[in-house]
């Protein structure tokens, strides 16, 4: 449900505004509203000096956020920051940011150098052995060439060109590299080195130069590179240690500074949401219903009778402006995860969470509908529950999966399914209600009936939500729901499921209701009615997915007898069941969600609510852990 809010107004002498904001922040209950504009009141704009202070605060916070993760909690209560505190924190944050930046850059350089050395080490080890084999003579230059796998064909032509240019004076040694490339060492007279370099460029052959800083020749460079590659990991570790020491010595202090500065920034921003005269301040806001007395007494205790809190009459404010807080019973609270995937509902409309809490697991259970698979889902939910922290998303997933598993087990027993027909084969499990493998039409009728109930419930909720704001539209919704019920009655009477006598009254009712609906909402109502009927048909997916699931499970069980070896057959069956279980988790979730978001919510849900964000103390962002 959406918690009812009350709009309140806080008033007092202008010089007590900072104190009043501090008390409101300590209470952490008031969601501030835009300032009222009436009579001599005008919005309280920040002075140039205050704006400068605000920009400075933002700069300091930017420095702190860059070095301390915003999930780091601040130890203990935060005393108000003085000017000298701010200056000290600003210097510390800037110095730390620069220091950490320098260490990060150094670490990145070392990582890059190590990666380069490791990459070239493969090439140069080969060239080193080629050089040793080629016994380089004085006055000769060495060229290190790497040919890609697709360039191997160019080696004979390169050799011919070198022979034509240098005759027997050129020595060529080659070796294949592990990656399919070919390392070629060319030893040529130093006097012809420039010509060879030009030839290599013309033939687009890649020459690997000796990396700078390790020595003029490869024979000198390779041992140095090898030694350097061994030194670097220790150096990286030293830099990382220095970084973590630097950070750990200041993390607590900076986290405390951030909490204090964020609080101060929030109070400065709150100033802009007040209205003032030369002597008085006024600020408006929303409180969860029933908490106004608590805030009032806290203001009175801290500031005496100088600051007043009064409740604004409900008739004087628009419901759409109020912030939204969802509060559901413990059983339904995990399902806020599913409704939370959509924008918040507007204030004054309906929170669909309790309905999702009932119908989502039911649809999931109907689609999976197998006691064996249901037990596996329950096991997964249990494991997830044990491994997740209270309040985390994973915990909510586990708590949603629990009821889904329960419904799957219940429907599995009703349908007589335990890993398909394995329950029947092993312990004679029989369907108590519907055999999904055989009675497809009754199952289809059941799902369409469920769809009719679900869509009509949505239309009724639309009537309830709209009754307060748009009575005409609400009546239209109600009439649509009534017409859908009449259509269902007429169809059942025509199929002789209901007594034939009710057919005529149902059709007459439809003929009367249809023009009234058009009169109330125009031609678009007819389209919406057709769309609602289409939505009911969409619930046939429950039957389709359920039938597919049971058929796949039966096929999996038959695998064990279809293959010659019993062990291979059992493995095939197990694999098939595993695939079916994976599909059975994924498809029912997606389609149950879709049935809610499109078919059900479409009839009544009004998104666009403002989240409730009271002026309070800064809290660290939850860490991304289970």
């Amino acid at each position: 449900m959406i918690i009812p809010m009350v709009r309140v107004r806080v008033m007092g002498p202008r010089d007590r505004l900072p104190d009043a904001l501090a008390v409101i922040q300590d209470a952490g209950m008031l969601h501030l509203a835009p300032p009222p504009e009436a009579g001599p009141l005008h919005p309280n704009a920040l002075t140039p000096a205050e704006n400068r202070r605000r920009r400075k605060l933002l700069r300091i916070l930017d420095d702190i956020d860059a070095v301390v993760p915003d999930s780091t909690p601040a130890p203990g209560p935060q005393p108000a920051a003085t000017v000298s505190d701010c200056a000290r924190w600003a210097r510390l944050a800037r110095r730390l940011r620069r220091g950490l930046g320098r260490l990060d850059r150094r670490s990145a350089e070392l990582e890059e150098e190590l990666a380069l050395l490791r990459r070239y080490q493969g090439f140069f080890s080969v060239f080193e052995s080629l050089l040793a084999a080629g016994s380089p003579r004085p006055g000769f230059s060495a060229f290190h060439v790497v040919l890609r796998a697709d360039q191997r064909d160019s080696l004979p032509s390169l050799r011919r060109a070198l022979d034509e240019m240098l005759g027997q004076a050129c020595e060529t040694l080659e070796r294949e590299l592990p990656g399919g490339e070919t390392a070629v060492l060319l030893l040529v007279p130093a006097s012809r080195a420039a010509a060879v370099e030009q030839l290599l460029a013309q033939t687009r052959v890649q020459e690997v130069p000796v990396p700078g800083g390790y020595g003029p020749t490869l024979l000198e460079a390779v041992p140095r590179m090898r030694a350097r590659a061994q030194e670097i990991p220790a150096e990286i570790e030293r830099v990382q240690r220095e970084r973590s020491e630097l950070l750990s010595s200041h993390t607590q202090g900076l986290a405390r500074a951030r909490a204090s500065l964020r609080d101060r920034l929030a109070r400065m921003d709150a100033l802009a949401l007040t209205a003032v005269t030369p002597h008085v301040f006024v600020l408006d806001g929303w409180l969860p219903g029933g908490t106004e007395r608590k805030l009032s007494s806290e203001l009175e205790r801290a500031l005496g009778s100088a600051v007043l809190l009064e409740t604004i009459d409900r008739a004087q404010w628009e419901g759409e402006d109020a912030p939204v807080v969802l509060h559901n019973p413990r059983l339904f609270r995990p399902f806020e995860l599913l409704t939370g995937m959509l924008p918040l509902p507007r204030y004054g409309t309906i929170d669909p969470t309790p309905y999702v809490g009932v119908f989502f697991p039911m649809f999931f259970g109907l689609m999976l509908g197998d006691a064996g698979y249901g037990l596996l889902v329950a096991l997964l939910a249990l494991v997830l529950h044990r491994r997740s922290a209270p309040g985390s998303t994973l915990r909510a997933v586990a708590e949603v999966a629990g009821p889904c598993a329960l419904f799957a087990i219940v429907f599995g027993v009703l349908f007589g399914e335990f890993f398909g027909d394995l329950g029947h084969r092993w312990f004679g499990l029989e369907p108590l209600w519907i055999d999904r493998g055989e009675a497809m039409v009754p199952f289809l009728v059941l799902t369409l009936g469920l769809g009719l109930v679900h869509v009509m419930l949505g239309l009724v909720l639309g009537v309830v939500a709209g009754a307060r704001h748009d009575a005409r539209h609400a009546i239209g919704r109600g009439l649509s729901a009534l017409m859908m019920a009449l259509i269902a009655v007429a169809i059942l009477a025509a199929l002789e499921v209901l007594p034939h006598e009710v057919l005529t009254p149902a059709v007459v009712g439809l003929l009367i209701a249809f023009p009234i609906l058009i009169f109330l909402e125009g031609m678009v109502a007819a389209i919406e009615l057709m769309s609602a009927i289409g939505h009911v048909l969409s619930y046939a997916r429950i039957m389709a997915l359920g039938t597919a699931s049971v058929m796949l499970a039966i096929v999996a069980n038959r695998m064990s007898g279809a293959v010659g070896s019993a062990v291979v057959g059992a493995l095939f069956a197990l694999l098939f069941h595993l695939v079916n279980f994976g599909l059975g988790l994924f498809s029912p979730t997606i389609h149950a969600l879709r049935l809610h978001y499109v078919e059900f919510f479409g009839t009544f849900y009004s998104p666009g609510g403002t989240p409730y964000q009271p002026l309070g103390h800064w809290a660290p962002r939850p860490a991304r852990t289970a």
């Binding site: 289809l444 039938t547 879709r594």
Partner: protein, 74 residues
């Protein structure tokens, strides 16, 4: 009605919507992936958009089963 026509009708009833669904999802999928790369908060919308064309093949499946059942009864 001969078994051939019943089987062929059932096959067409599911086959054509399956192709249509596949075509629709092949168009939606890349667009959805591109949207998610820029705005990960659109994941719910994307799930719904990708699941919407599946209605065709699901209804085709239902119709196909009904054809087969009627064919058996006939």
């Amino acid at each position: 009605m001969s078994i051939l026509w019943v089987t062929l009708s059932a096959a067409l009833a599911i086959g054509i919507p399956a192709l249509a669904t596949a075509w629709a999802q092949s168009r939606i999928g890349p667009a959805a992936a591109a949207s998610l790369a820029e705005k990960p908060q659109l994941s719910t919308t994307v799930i719904i958009l990708v699941a919407i064309p599946e209605t065709m093949v699901i209804l085709g499946f239902v119709v196909s089963i009904l054809i087969l059942l009627r064919g058996q009864a006939g």
